[in-house]
């Protein structure tokens, strides 16, 4: 089944049906924010949100997870959680980032089972944005408010009902499994959805990103990095909220009488990130660290895995406490 219409009032039934064999998460109000939270049969879904504060990557690459524990003097690996999940209401920018992360966590030689197993077990239902924020710039980086990259199903909010369009086999299977709850969409509905996506896309300001990789390479030794970083307080918000940032570290800890190794998100904006035990630190200034983050996204990943690791979600722009604006950095670099 490729397309289906479901009334918003019927969603509870769908959630209940899906919950039989999967954990369902969806947009739920928490105070002023909307968070991606586990859905029960009575949970009220929110459709009035720009995006979640935290990127959806955290469900596949959590802030921290135990990878090994010590048993009888020997470290043993803990398996990644093996539960099916359905993520509803993911914004297209966050979904677009997932295939990028898959490229990082799987390669010809080493696979990170913790990320890959979770991704394999998840069905991503993206919800197209009809009113993008002024800080959003996905269309400048190959995305769209109705982008389909990385999702299994793309949903459109048509007011009283949703139109779901399956993108992958996994998505088709999910729709097929709950076929009874869906109606076939009318042509008008499909057209309305497409028009909505196009209108949202047209409403967005575009920033120029042509040639950004070459320009970034050329700007490597430019003074702009230290100039911009003078304000930076090295808080790492930009990296933690970034849908594509994927740096991590390990930390061993003792909890009660259990010794475990924890894989934690880490951030290149911290001075300690590259500090070696000898005291040597290849990146001593905040300018070097900020440059690393930008170069990693706009140059290194392009060379290594063929993608710009920025989806234009605008979180770093919006949440940077000192108003360092990535859009301005891109503009500066391109000068």
């Amino acid at each position: 089944m490729e397309k289906g219409i479901i009334g918003k009032s019927e969603l509870a039934k769908l959630v209940e049906a899906m919950a039989a064999d999967a954990t369902c998460l969806g947009p739920v109000k928490d105070g002023q924010d909307t968070v991606l939270a586990e859905l029960g049969p009575d949970t009220e879904l929110s459709f009035d949100y720009a995006n979640f504060r935290l990127p959806v990557k955290r469900l596949f690459f959590p802030q921290s997870e135990v990878t090994c524990v010590l048993r009888d003097g020997q470290l043993v690996a803990l398996p990644p959680p093996d539960e099916k999940t359905v993520l509803f209401g993911v914004r297209p920018c966050d979904a677009q980032a997932l295939p990028y992360l898959t490229k990082i966590f799987s390669d010809e030689k080493y696979e990170d089972p913790y990320y890959l197993k979770r991704r394999e077990n998840a069905v991503i239902v993206s919800l197209a944005c009809h009113t993008p924020c002024s800080t959003c710039f996905c269309t400048s980086l190959g995305g769209s408010p109705a982008g389909r990259a990385g999702c299994d199903i793309l949903a459109f909010d048509l007011g009283h009902e949703l139109l779901l369009e399956a993108e992958t086999e996994k998505g088709k299977a999910l729709l097929a499994a709950h076929e009874a709850l869906f109606a076939a969409p009318t042509d008008a509905q499909v057209t309305a959805a497409a028009e909505q996506g196009a209108a949202a896309e047209a409403s967005m300001a575009k920033i120029e990103t042509d040639g950004i990789t070459e320009k970034a390479d050329q700007a490597f030794d430019a003074p702009l990095w230290e100039e911009i970083a003078a304000r930076c307080v090295a808080c790492g918000v930009c990296t933690y909220l970034c849908p594509t940032c994927h740096c991590f570290g390990f930390a061993d800890e003792q909890v009660g009488n259990r010794t475990q190794r924890v894989k934690c998100q880490d951030a290149c904006m911290f001075p300690l990130f590259t500090l070696e035990a000898s005291g040597h630190n290849p990146r001593t200034t905040q300018g070097q660290r900020l440059r690393q983050r930008i170069m990693h996204k706009f140059s290194y990943t392009v060379k290594n895995v063929g993608e710009i690791f920025c989806v234009g979600c605008g979180r770093c722009v919006l949440y940077c406490p000192v108003n360092i604006d990535l859009r301005e950095i891109i503009e500066e670099v391109r000068k």
Binding site: Q32, Q63, V233, V255, Q265
Partner: protein
Amino acid sequence: MTKMQDAQNRLRETVKDLFAQQKVDLVVGFEAGSLPLRTRVCFLTSADEADRLVWNAFCTNNPAVYIPRLFQRPASPREEYKPPKLGIVAKACDARAVHKLLEEHQAPRENVTIIGMPCRGMACRDKVVIQAGDEVVEAVESTEGAVEIKTRGGASHRFELQDLLQQACLDCPQAAPEHVDVQIEGASRRDTTRRYEGLKNFEAMSADQRWEYFRHELSKCIRCYACRQVCPTCYCKTCFADMAKPRWTGAGDGLSDVMFYHIGRLMHQAGRCVECDACTRACPVGIDLKTFTRKLGKDVERLFDYVPGLRPDEAPLLCAFEDDDTEEFVTDG
């Protein structure tokens, strides 16, 4: 011309004078930001740049956070230490933070010129968005005490600044910054009677409700430590949370480790937190940190009659004692 803009012009002229008299070679102030309702900190090195300075209801950041860094000694003793002659544009809370840092020897007093700003309080971004009910795409402080905004949907609103003030400003103990080197004239907030009003709801809760509130707020924490990084009085070279030897905190984002970090940080802020709420504004997941820092401040004020940063040259709270300090929690046999 509004009062704020008057103050802005006076600030620009003052900064030009300070450069001309060679009293400063670096000024930290605010310039226009890239987003509505925002300004950002800028670093000026000559009088020519002074016209970049702005002064309005969106100068929320605490520029004192940059002081320890600007006065950091070079890693090698062979390198000459050349501290700047710093001018710092300061609201009341900023000035308190500067005094705290001076007291803790983070900069030589003679190298810092505090430019005290008249402040009616700063607009809380969240409050503006709630009142506007939509994303704000443009905001100006138009007339005295009013903020005019435009929303994404095209609507225009005019709000009284008084209704938009940050909690930090409502709680501010000062009508204007004190113990400054240069005072810029202008309208200041005069109402200092609402201090700790924001705590009332929290304090009215039962212990279990307070616990539940604390637990819920901290369960959002992703341990990015942004709260620490933007805090002017969090400048330890190696924070206890980053220490490897001893490793104080566990690595995870489980509640126990998160609480350990936050209570540990609060302890380190006792008698030091100037209640500027930089932590709360910076928190990317919206934890209500201010309730806890404010509770701490209130305790410290009640127990020791101590308000950080109000009196220059006072002894740091936890490095001193009085013989008749409170004994209210000492159990007796």
